[in-house]
Amino acid sequence: MVDEYAIINKAKSLGYQAEVYSIKLKQVQIKGGDQKHAFFLSDSGYGVRVIKDGKMGLAYSTRLDEKLLDLAIESLKPSKEDEFNVIPSRENVEKLPLKYFDINDAFDKLSEILNSVEEIRNIANITSDYYEAINSIIKVVNTDGIDVEEERSLVNVSLSFVFKRDNFVSPEIYESISSRDFNNLDIKGLLERVKEKAEIFKDYKSVGKKFNEVILTPKAISTLLSPLLSFAVSLENGYRNRSPLMEGEYIKEGLVIIDNPRIPYAPYSRSFDGEGLPSKVVKIIDTSFVKYLSNTYWSLRAGKENTHSSVRSYATLPVISTSLVEIDVNEKAEEDTVVIDEVQGVHTSNFATGQFSVTAPVAWYKGVAVKNLTLTGSLKCMLKGIIGSVGNKKEIYGNVYTYPLKIKGINAA
């Protein structure tokens, strides 16, 4: 029988460094609405990476067989020699408990959540609602001693909805929660957010005023600040002159931003990264920009610390990415300006400069929804312009763990 070890041993006998990254998952998804249904998925995939004389090749398949190694070697041949193409060596991994439920119990739990969402269907027109649970087994084995495996669970609920009255249709609003643990899923909080939006969208108007200070909710931070920051703090982008941030650059007194993959119940937690190296808690910003996130290739190339920040699927090479971005600032601020909860069009930003011009379809001022709001600014302005945190609730939303933040230097008009 062909398994990961057979492939590794064969590669070794042929003189290659090799790595097999595999994932096996089972997923249950329920979709609500007009065509309500459940969906059972059983999925597996294997990615083989080989390196010899600085050349690297990759192959993947949903089925593991001997041809996979041949295909990886074939794709190595035309690649360019690069001394920094290296398979990493083993380091001790301190395991986190990341499996909180068995997938066989998930269907009934998801159904219960779906039933509890029924209470808001008379408040909001739900355009799509998904309830999904996953059990996955991630494994990384390589010729240089890495042999790690862990089981992870994940549960996610996401709702999209509009408010309709006569001829009025509100912008589509999106809310989601996810956790590795059902017990950590704040369904009540999710429903409360929908109800709050219903109150806010009882009126919807242009305010006819420009704001140079805004409050970003954790949701807005996860969709606007987080993707721009993730790009900017990648060592690849720093090394290649594609980042607006430079190491050592002063950002903001008392601002601390950490990449934290080690909060067990958080959705992006992991004991090891995409190369099988132990996950680290990395301080990215501490008043100044401390360091870029890296993986084996870019740390060697740039001569910097490997922060073990590789992310990958079985079909792709490891790339650098943030996990859970934790933001703290040592000052408090008042909620006395426009609150931005959702932005549209972040993917149209210039990631190399960090500059953006996006719309804010879900925003409010003095408790009333604001129409026609456009935000312009840059990542650097956002970070340097953080005035303080608002309120007392630090929460995980998407891949951020933060309080709402009051920021100056973004133009909202």
């Binding site: 309500k36 249904h37 059983s42 074939e74 549209q344 011009s357």
Partner: protein, 447 residues
């Protein structure tokens, strides 16, 4: 095991099976890396059943088994409200053969290396380049309990380029991407034209001006018009979104001048029309959908369920990213139909406005708001093109924008892209002529 027959034995009134195999190759060239980033085969099955008027799904990368059929039945948990359009038996095979020969991987590396050198020599300020070449050989098999059996195969290949330049503290970046079903993209597309476009876009970011935020008369070039047709109109016409959006209540109403026609089509002969969907993932024959016809909201994009719900002829818009995902209503090749004016005439007659040439993507909401990033644009002054713009964002309301369409040019162009919805991505194309619009909101500087 015949899983469809077994599903019927277990009480399903309808069942369909999707098999999909994707053989993918992806190559990355940067200023100093040349590597295969993805190379392999993704293969699996999806079984869907209609049981007691509820959908149920199961999907696997292995052969389907008795347990999978039972899981599909178990997953049919709705409110027993699903009625669908049934179709007559049919057997067909669609095979799209590329016109341009696909060379060996070594030859592809050689061609990409040459392209990389040319990109690095575009401008002395260029610091980094990213060239992503990709190809996907797709085999699809569909079978239903109606005795429909459809086989389809085709190859999508594409090129995505990003160039970043730096001068002191100023960074500029320019992008180009396109894809085709016609074969080797380095043969299909005009590489010299692409290089010129990137050079212009880069330089414009260094010398461009910032327009004052406000409302402008704009001439939208084909690429921007295509994205508008897709983002601002097409998504609103997807029946699942339309019933909760602004377009459904406007059915049969005139919302734009008569010159406005917006169509979603299963096929086009254009080289970038990768939304080619002769049969959709429910085995339905694709047909042209006239979303806006002579300025009137005419019809919507449907799947089998919404076709029955709305009483519309099935349109063939049910698509899934792969076997891992359920069916959603999706666009294919969505375009703004051509008019009678010439581009030159439009520019000549504009005293004060903006020409918006290329987008950096866009987004829309069921309330009819849209937002696009514009990566290439110019000021129009006294009937001529003057200064380039820095990157700007445009936004607005679809209905207001359509009302403000004044002129449409005769020629039409298409661009390939990938459309995201509810976590699924499918290949589409967008197209259009030059369109003159009054009072479009331009958001000011982002680059």
């Amino acid at each position: 095991m015949n899983v469809l027959k077994r599903a019927e034995e277990l009480g399903a009134t309808f069942a369909d099976l999707r098999y999909m195999k994707i053989k993918e190759l992806s190559i990355l060239f940067t200023e100093d890396r040349e590597v295969v980033t993805s190379n392999g085969i993704d293969e699996g099955y999806n079984l869907r059943v209609l049981y007691k008027n509820n959908w149920g799904y199961t999907s696997t990368t292995n052969e389907l088994t008795e347990d999978d059929v039972k899981n599909a039945i178990r997953s049919a948990i709705g409110d027993e409200k699903v009625n669908i359009v049934f179709l007559p038996p049919k057997r067909d095979e669609v095979r799209i053969k590329p016109k341009y020969y696909m060379p060996s991987i070594e030859e592809k590396f050689k061609d990409l290396k040459k392209l990389k050198e040319e990109l690095l020599n575009l401008d002395s300020r260029v610091k980094s380049v990213n060239i992503r070449y990709y190809e996907a050989e797709i085999e699809k098999y569909y079978e239903s309990t109606e005795d429909r059996e459809i086989k389809q195969s085709y190859v999508i290949s594409g090129l995505s380029i990003n160039v970043t330049a730096r001068e002191n503290d100023m960074i500029a970046s320019a992008s180009y991407s396109d894809a085709t079903l016609m074969g080797y993209p380095l043969e299909v597309f005009d590489l010299n034209g692409i290089l010129n476009v990137l050079k212009t876009r880069l330089n414009n970011q260094f010398i461009g001006i910032m327009p004052k935020a406000g409302e402008y008369t704009v001439i939208l070039a084909p690429e921007v018009v295509g994205v508008f047709a897709h983002e601002a109109v097409g998504h609103l016409a997807e029946a699942d979104l339309a019933v909760n959006g602004i377009l459904y209540p406007l059915r049969s109403q005139k919302i734009a001048p008569e010159i406005v026609n917006i169509i979603d089509s299963p096929s086009s002969s254009h080289q970038s029309a990768i939304g080619y969907t002769v049969y959709d993932d429910e085995g339905v024959e694709g047909r042209d959908v006239y979303i806006i016809k002579d300025g009137v909201v005419n019809e919507f994009l449907t799947d089998r369920y919404f076709s029955a719900y709305l009483g519309e002829k099935p349109s063939g818009n049910a698509r899934a990213e792969d076997f891992r995902n359920p069916i959603l209503i999706r666009m294919r090749n969505t375009y703004f139909a051509p008019g009678n004016t010439s581009y030159e005439e439009m520019i000549r007659e504009t005293k004060d406005g903006l020409l918006l040439v290329s987008t950096a993507g866009g987004q829309t909401s069921p309330d009819g708001t849209f937002q696009f990033g514009i990566q290439e644009g110019y000021v129009i002054e006294n009937g001529g093109i003057s200064k380039p713009l820095k990157i700007v964002g445009i936004s607005g309301y679809t209905i207001e924008t359509l009302k403000n369409v004044k002129e449409i040019s005769k020629t039409i162009e298409f661009k390939a892209g990938y459309c995201g919805k509810e976590g699924q991505s499918v290949p589409v194309s967008t197209g259009g002529p030059y369109v003159k619009v009054e009072k479009m909101k331009v958001g000011g500087l982002i680059g």
